[in-house]
């Protein structure tokens, strides 16, 4: 009697220990993220002000100046890359969701998986070879092509996966009303999966916003404001790279500030994606 009692006690203690361990390790997981954010905020918050966000960089030696060129360049790269990747990616995703089997579909699926695994620097080299060399100049367009290639697998996969979840009975309901296949796909199936597609697009944007490697020899960087797609542009990650590798402490501080802006933007994208996925979720 006595022994079985203490036995149970021991088991309860073990159980509590296990629970404590699991909770502890879960918290340990978020420590790196918190440290990164803490570090960036600590070093970057000091330089953030209105001028930093709206002014152009000044030459070394002058104080002040900002990152307006990089912000504009990053926005331009994102918009251009999205214009290329979203139509292609969503259409390919629709095709894959509709065509579950077949040689072409599995071929496309395999290609997307491989593409996802290709290092971004390699994609940059390819964009350099295709666009920069043939046009004879570094440009926002070439950078966008590289980023669009990186967005594609994310968009294709999320579109396919979301549309697969749309129940077949909705497709049948639409077809049974005499609606053509194309209209059924565009007006019933795609709208039913729209939140998932949007989420995928936002995550793809979040993914490419911080890419540096493919921009090194495509968008190239530009200390002046440029809104011309055929000219080199700066971007936040490129600017961080250039400032952080410079020998000047003032530029280091700017790199931290730009890093803070970049991280806030990417986290905002991720957060928006979460909110959209939750708020607009279609109940089947």
């Amino acid at each position: 009697m006595h022994t079985s009692h203490s036995n149970i006690r021991l088991r309860i203690i073990k159980d509590r220990l296990f629970l404590a361990l699991v909770v502890l390790l879960s918290f340990a997981m978020i420590v790196p993220l918190l440290l990164i954010i803490f570090h960036i905020v600590k070093n970057g918050i000091g330089v953030i002000n209105w001028e930093f966000l709206t002014a152009l960089p000044r030459p070394m030696g002058e104080t002040g100046g900002g990152i307006a060129n990089a912000l504009a360049g990053t926005m331009m790269l994102i918009v251009l890359a999205s214009l290329i990747a979203i139509p292609l990616g969503v259409l390919a995703g629709i095709y894959l969701a509709e065509q579950k089997t077949g040689r072409i579909a599995s071929g496309v699926r395999l290609c997307m998986e491989v593409l996802q695994g290709i290092p971004s620097i390699v994609i940059g080299i390819v964009a350099y070879a295709w666009v920069v060399i043939s046009m004879g100049t570094f440009s926002a367009l070439s950078g966008s092509v590289a980023l669009a290639i990186m967005m594609l697998p994310v968009i294709v996969r999320s579109t396919e996966e979301t549309l697969r979840l749309v129940p077949d009975i909705l497709r049948e309901a639409s077809l049974a009303l005499g609606v053509s296949y194309a209209r059924t796909v565009l007006k019933i199936i795609v709208p039913s999966g729209l939140t998932g597609i949007l989420t995928g697009i936002l995550l793809a944007i979040a993914r490419i916003t911080g890419e540096t490697a493919p921009l090194l020899f495509t968008a190239f960087g530009n200390p002046y404001m440029s809104l011309n797609v055929l000219k080199p542009v700066d971007s936040l990650p490129l600017m961080i790279f250039n400032y952080a590798t410079s020998p000047y402490p003032e530029w280091h501080a700017k790199a931290w500030g730009a890093a803070l802006v970049l991280v806030v933007f990417v986290m905002g994208m991720n957060f928006t994606a979460k909110v959209i996925a939750k708020r607009w979720k279609v109940q089947f």
Binding site: E172, A173, S174, L175, L177, G178, S180, R183, I188, S192
Partner: protein, 252 residues
């Protein structure tokens, strides 16, 4: 007797090498309820899916023989035209989750790009919902999504959506199999009321339901049409031994 709305003649259907329906002959009378009854796998659902040409959407599916709507061969028409003339209600309620109740009812017009005036739409919505006995319950919430509706209400919404297109015939594929008994009773009563204006072909695995709501009954077994006649005769003095055994619960 006036000429039937729908005639199925020497009709067979198959999936690959698997025959599902063998040489079916059947006719559906105007403004009557015709029930297709039989155990699972007898081909009753396949038969109505052949009538609105949904069967052929499945890979490997094929048919022989003809089905006439009035005097037009459905298999010589464009399937899209066939489906505009023939309404269908499915086993599980499937209103479009992205649309309001109102838009669900006129989905057949909107999705097909048929332009009609706002007042005309309002009229169609009210009329269809009244026919489907749903109007009183949803009239104040027409522009909300249908997701708060109960299963039975959703199914009536789907019936309204099919009726809005003024179909020549309404196919119902076990419309109550996903519903509770109360909602089932409601739908059955609705079917009895609808038959004053609509020709209905009802698939059911529920013998009692066929007896309650139909005027004619067809008994299918293993892809054969075993017996077809008025519900009264089929349930009281069936010709075929298999019908009798099925009705008395010996199999199925």
């Amino acid at each position: 007797m006036e000429s039937p709305v729908l005639r199925v003649e020497n009709f067979s259907a198959h999936f690959g090498d698997n025959p599902v329906l063998k040489d079916i002959n059947l006719s559906v009378q105007h403004n009557r309820v015709t029930a297709l009854m039989g155990p699972s796998g007898c081909g009753k659902t396949t038969l109505i899916r052949c009538i609105n040409r949904m069967h052929e959407l499945i890979v490997d599916a094929g048919v022989e023989g003809s089905i006439y709507l009035h005097d037009e061969d459905l298999y010589k028409m464009n399937p899209i035209m066939v489906r505009k003339k023939i309404g269908m209600v499915f086993q599980r309620p499937n209103p479009f989750p992205t649309m309001s109740i109102y838009d669900n009812v006129v989905a057949g017009y909107n999705l097909n790009g048929i332009k009609i005036k706002r007042e005309e739409k309002d009229r169609i919505v009210e009329e269809s919902l009244r026919k489907a006995a749903l109007w009183e319950e949803v009239r104040d919430r027409l522009h909300r999504k249908g997701s708060f509706l109960s299963g039975g209400q959703q199914q009536r919404l789907c019936i309204a959506r099919a009726l809005a297109m003024n179909p020549d015939i309404l196919l119902m594929d076990e419309p109550t199999s996903a519903l509770d008994p109360k909602a089932t009773a409601h739908i059955e009563q609705l079917i009895s009321e609808l038959k004053n204006n609509v020709t209905i072909l009802l698939v059911t695995h529920n013998i009692a339901q066929a007896a309650r709501v139909s005027d004619f009954t067809a008994f299918l077994y293993l892809g054969d049409l075993v017996e077809f006649g008025t519900t009264e005769k089929l349930f009281t003095v069936p010709d075929d031994k298999r019908t009798e055994e099925y009705l008395s619960g010996k199999f199925g």
